[in-house]
């Protein structure tokens, strides 16, 4: 239930905003005739190192009440470092899988063939994982809009000044009753910060990041594992576009007209995202072992 608190705040604000400024603001369902939209293959895959090579294939479609079709009979070929590796096996719900585990520093390319469509292709090279040089958890790092203290992490990583690297920091969050000796239980897993090293001249990059657990209970204590993802350029662009897409799709308070933004795609002749990352995990950090 405590997960809903932040959302309730926004909802309350929204209700009062609407009542005040829009007086009798009216949301009304209206009929619409969706224009035809070409059915174009969509290829989606965000690959993590050591995971099985997996890909989702589907078709775009016009707006409607039925879910979009997935491709069950496409021919999907996998190339590794420019060499044909294998044809993917269809499993279920549009998922195709190889028996190959994703490795860093390799280039992966997929070619999807589907009747009456040009070949759809995408490729990416999996970056090597970058370790944390040093990482520190500030358990009571800052205070969010609900008044709850939230954590901050401070870390450094090595920087290759000859190229731009792209990173995405994620947190795995665990909890247990305050003062108890029981094991921590899994709570939450979400993105902390997306960044790149484009303007970093130093050989070491330092970051001071405030983030939110997105939940609160005064009766719990928390533990964290931080995951530093070294991501492809496509991943970075997609993550950026997703943020703007969501911002426009779900505007705060829903009181303004949406600012539409399309998702980034690096798929030739199709839609979707084909990206990859390697990751390095920190030790488990708690209030005591900072």
């Amino acid at each position: 239930m405590d997960l809903l608190i932040a959302f309730k705040i926004k909802k309350n604000r929204f209700v009062f905003f609407m009542g005040l400024l829009i007086i009798h603001g009216c949301h009304k369902k209206i009929p619409f005739d969706a224009a035809e939209f070409e059915q174009i293959p969509t290829l989606n895959s965000i690959l993590a190192t050591d995971s099985l090579f997996t890909l989702h294939a589907s078709l775009t479609g016009k707006m409607g009440r039925d879910s979009l079709p997935v491709l069950e009979d496409a021919l999907v070929d996998l190339y590794i470092d420019g060499t044909f590796a294998q044809t993917l096996q269809y499993t279920q719900k549009g998922i195709y899988q190889a028996n190959h585990r994703v490795k860093p520093s390799h280039q992966y390319k997929c070619v999807l063939n589907y009747p009456n469509s040009p070949a759809v292709a995408a490729s990416c090279t999996v970056p090597k994982a970058t370790p944390f040089n040093k990482i520190q958890l500030i358990y009571h790092g800052w205070i969010d809009e609900t008044g709850e203290t939230q954590p901050t992490i401070v870390f450094t990583i090595p920087n290759d000044t000859t190229t731009t690297q792209y990173f995405d920091v994620w947190a795995r969050i665990f909890y247990r009753s305050k003062g108890s000796n029981e094991n921590f239980r899994f709570r939450n897993y979400h993105q902390v910060f997306l960044f790149n090293t484009e303007h970093q001249k130093s050989t070491v990059v330092s970051k001071h990041l405030e983030f939110s657990r997105n939940s609160y209970s005064p009766n719990y204590e928390y533990a964290y594992i931080f995951e530093l993802r070294s991501v492809t350029y496509g991943y970075y662009r997609y993550a950026e576009s997703l943020k703007l897409y969501n911002q426009g799709r779900f505007p705060e308070f829903n009181t303004s007209s949406p600012e539409p933004f399309n998702l980034y795609s690096n798929v030739k002749n199709g839609y979707g995202i084909f990206a990859a990352y390697s990751y390095f995990c920190s030790d488990t950090l708690t209030q005591n072992n900072k």
Binding site: L20, C26, L68, G147, P218, A239, S256, G272
Partner: protein, 797 residues
């Protein structure tokens, strides 16, 4: 050039109301010998060269004309006091009247008669009913003039620029009608005196206060409670003070307290205080001081989570203006009138969040953006002879922009601030030549030097206006102007909280420019009962800036310039038709505008031209006023506009759940937190602004009841119905699964749910009532000046 300069004298002076000594702006002075006509400016000042034996007629709408024979052999200052009471139509000037092309003008009476949202008349909302002028949105007072951006309008309050003009998210403007004397809006063909904004000059001249005695008013409406007080200030001065304050903020506070048991309260409101003090030092010199302060504020206080010792939180958004200005008007000679002004204007928006009652962890964070403008202005108005005059002057401004400032009491957070000082120095000159009785030519230039950090820019803006007087009642005009703007307003379409940010022009954000060509025809007919105008324009815009695609603000990003798209271009064109009936049982107007406006940015819509966010091809307004009997007035307005463009959803695609969905294992082990991704449907948007919302139309009806109270005070009850036939005008569309206020977030839900299309409308039928009482002090006859009609002052006195 009809007169020999040797036989001419210069007659100049001020035209004011005989009872209140209020300035009469746009009053006519007609030389019946030569047929020459001039009109008074915003100081009520006029100047004309006449024959040594001449006959002048002074007239103003609703006032009894004064005829004055002039036998003077020397230049003379003649100040004239006109007495009100005549209905329009009883008096007409049988001469050519100076026409103001590209300019829309409304009298305060016209504004107050219009039915209004919430029962409070509003200047900018009224302006939106005139051709070529549109509102940003239904709820906004911001103006879109001839396809320009909302940040391209220069708002002048007694010639002092005001930066932010909205209250209540645009529901009302900051201009209090109680304070106003005259309102005009110039859409093109700006005189060189004006510049710095590309699309319009909104000139609001305020009253100077009643000289004959103390009087005031008190009003209450759905939106606010308001009052005004004016009167003499010593023997030579006058003052006027007005104030407005919302009432519903306290109602809202109480309601939210009751609904949430005191755990969550909200208060929203605005206020403004406006004052002007004027001293007529002597017949030739006048000094005035303007002070204005107005703010909107939203306070949210919460004590959300048990137990009761949890922190108290306070979130506050506050935005508004300060203005302080002093102005000295002097008649140096009958030929030369000068005005010197010093002003300070400040606009700021601040988001403040603070927490208390937290053990050792209280904090206060503040994000703000601000603009401070110090300006020194000097203006000359010189009548050379009966066929030429010169307006010239200089402006010098120091402007401090703070696009981004973040401060925090928390030790671990560094304060962040970007601020830039810019200097803008401007020289201008405008030569008016009445070449023949048939032709008036205004030619001028505005030269500016702008400096900020290492960036310097020079501007030479040519201005040309020419008017052919076909007959006394038919004029044709053509004009060209170039304008440069040294600041950019970043805005989004329709966000309620003010996220408008001003950024200064510099190397990165180049100064925006506009070139506008316009031409028009004006006709008065049936004894000036009707006035018709047809105007056309073409406007070219360069170096525009806006938020980058998808961005909606600069908050939380010290690298905010990366969120701004620059190098935009635009063009707009249109035809405007206007027919106005000035007097009779029915008065009113019909205005129609066909206009298009487009934009092109390198990184928006793949560098392809797209319709501007406020492109409305068709706009029709009908205004009707009828005096039903001595006590009741009826007014109606009907508005029809093409729907605004929007970016439509054209299709769907699957995308990975970047934020993972979890099936907690429940084993209780730290190691088991298995993630499971899924694929959900995302929207695909079409070309930028390629769709169009349904047309907008609305009928407003207003009734005003006038009476005298038992104490002899004038009372007005205003009843109005906004959107009388309850049209649900769409403001925007969106797709959602639910019909409730909750939003469905498919990225958190692996189960497919079909989306439906929804429209959001703002104001349905909205009746309102307003009450206003005007009272006069006991000393109303203490200092009567109604018997004064003329003041002569030979200039060598």
């Amino acid at each position: 050039m009809a007169l020999n300069a040797q036989s001419q004298v210069i007659i100049s002076g001020f035209i004011t109301d005989a009872k209140t000594n209020e300035t009469l702006i746009g009053a006519y002075v007609h030389d019946t010998i030569t047929g020459q006509v001039v009109s008074s400016n915003t100081n009520g000042y006029y100047s004309m060269a006449v024959n040594k034996n001449s006959h002048l007629v002074y007239s103003y709408v609703g006032y009894t004309p004064q005829a004055i024979p002039v036998y003077s052999t020397t230049d003379t200052l003649i100040s004239v006091f006109l007495t009100g009471g005549k209905k329009l139509g009883e008096v007409t000037v049988k001469a050519r009247q100076p026409q103001r092309f590209n300019t829309s003008r409304l009298t305060i009476k016209e504004i107050e008669q219009l039915p209004s949202l919430g029962g409070s008349p509003d200047v900018l909302k009224a302006m939106q009913l005139l051709p070529g002028i549109q509102g940003q949105s239904e709820s906004s007072s911001m103006l879109i003039v001839r396809g320009g951006d909302p940040g391209q309008n220069l708002y002048l309050l007694d010639e002092t620029p005001l930066i932010y003009v909205n209250h209540l998210g645009g529901f009302l403007s900051v201009f209090n009608p109680d304070m106003m004397n005259d309102v005009s809006l110039s859409k093109g063909g700006f005189p060189p005196q004006y510049g710095g904004k590309l699309s319009s000059v909104v000139n609001i001249t305020q009253k100077k206060g009643n000289a004959s005695g103390r009087k005031g008013s008190f009003g209450i409406s759905i939106t606010d409670i308001n009052g005004s007080m004016e009167g003499p200030l010593g023997k030579k001065g006058t003052y006027i003070i007005t104030a407005r304050k919302t009432l519903f903020d306290f109602l809202l506070l109480g309601a939210t307290k009751l609904m949430n048991g005191g755990n969550y309260t909200m208060r929203y409101g605005f206020h403004d205080i406006n004052s002007k003090f004027t001293w007529q030092l002597n017949p030739k010199n006048k000094l005035s001081v303007n002070l204005y302060q107005g703010d909107d504020y939203l306070h949210i206080r919460s004590k959300l989570i048990p137990p009761p010792d949890m922190p108290r939180l306070h979130s506050k958004i506050i935005w508004g203006n300060w203005l302080a200005a002093t102005r000295w008007t002097s008649v140096l000679t009958p030929r030369l009138n000068t005005e010197t002004a010093l002003s300070f204007t400040r606009y700021r928006t601040a988001f403040v969040q603070s927490a208390s009652n937290i053990n050792n962890a209280a904090f206060k964070d503040r994000f703000s953006t601000a603009v401070n403008d110090f300006t020194l202005r000097h203006h000359w108005n010189c009548t050379l002879n009966n066929w030429s005059r010169v307006n010239a002057g200089l402006n010098s401004s120091l402007i401090k922009h703070v696009p981004y400032r973040y401060t925090s009491t928390r030790k671990e957070i560094d304060d962040e601030k970007t601020q830039e000082h810019s200097f803008l120095n401007t020289l201008y000159a405008d030569l008016e030549i009445n070449a023949t009785k048939l032709l008036t030519l205004n030619t001028g230039i505005r030269a500016a030097r702008y400096n900020i950090n290492n960036f310097t820019d020079w501007a030479f803006e040519p201005r040309l206006r020419t008017t052919a007087h076909i007959t006394n009642n038919i004029d044709i005009n053509a004009s060209y102007m170039q304008v440069k703007q040294y600041s950019h307003l970043l805005f989004t379409t329709g966000n309620i909280a003010s996220n408008e940010v001003w950024v200064p022009a510099n190397n990165e954000f180049r100064p925006a420019t506009s070139d506008q060509l316009s031409a028009g025809l004006m006709v008065n007919f049936l004894n000036q009962q009707f006035h018709a105008e047809i105007s056309g324009y073409y406007k070219d815009l360069e170096n525009l800036s806006t938020y980058k695609a998808g961005e909606i603000d600069l908050k939380g990003d010290i690298n905010w310039p990366s969120r701004v798209e620059t190098g935009g271009r635009g063009f707009a064109y249109g035809l405007e038709f206007y027919l106005k009936k000035n007097y009779g049982d029915f008065t009113g107007s019909i205005g129609y505008t066909y206009s298009r406006s487009f934009r092109k940015y390198p990184n928006i819509n793949n560098n392809q031209t797209y319709p501007f966010a406020y492109d409305r091809p068709h706009s029709l307004t009908v205004l009707l006023n009828r005096k039903l009997n001595p006590n009741w007035d009826l007014s109606m307005t009907w508005v029809y506009q093409s729907g605004l463009p929007y970016t439509p959803v054209v299709g769907r695609q699957y995308t990975p759940s970047y934020e993972y969905y979890f099936e907690p294992s429940g084993s209780g082990s730290l190691a088991t937190g298995e993630a499971e991704s899924f694929y959900y449907e995302a929207l695909i948007y079409g070309e930028h602004n390629n769709g169009r919302i349904k047309p907008y139309h609305r009928l407003d009806v207003g009734l005003q009841y006038h009476k005298l109270s038992k104490r002899g005070n004038r009372v007005i009850w205003s009843f109005s119905v906004y959107n009388a036939y309850n049209r649900q005008n769409p403001n925007y569309y969106y797709f959602d699964y639910y019909s409730t206020l909750d939003t469905y977030h498919p990225q958190f839900d692996p189960e497919f749910k079909p989306l439906d299309k929804y429209q959001v409308s703002f104001f349905p039928i909205l009746p309102s009532v307003g009450y206003k009482v005007y009272f006069e002090g006991k000393n109303r006859e203490k200092n009567p000046i109604k018997d004064r009609f003329i003041n002569f002052l030979m200039f060598d006195e």
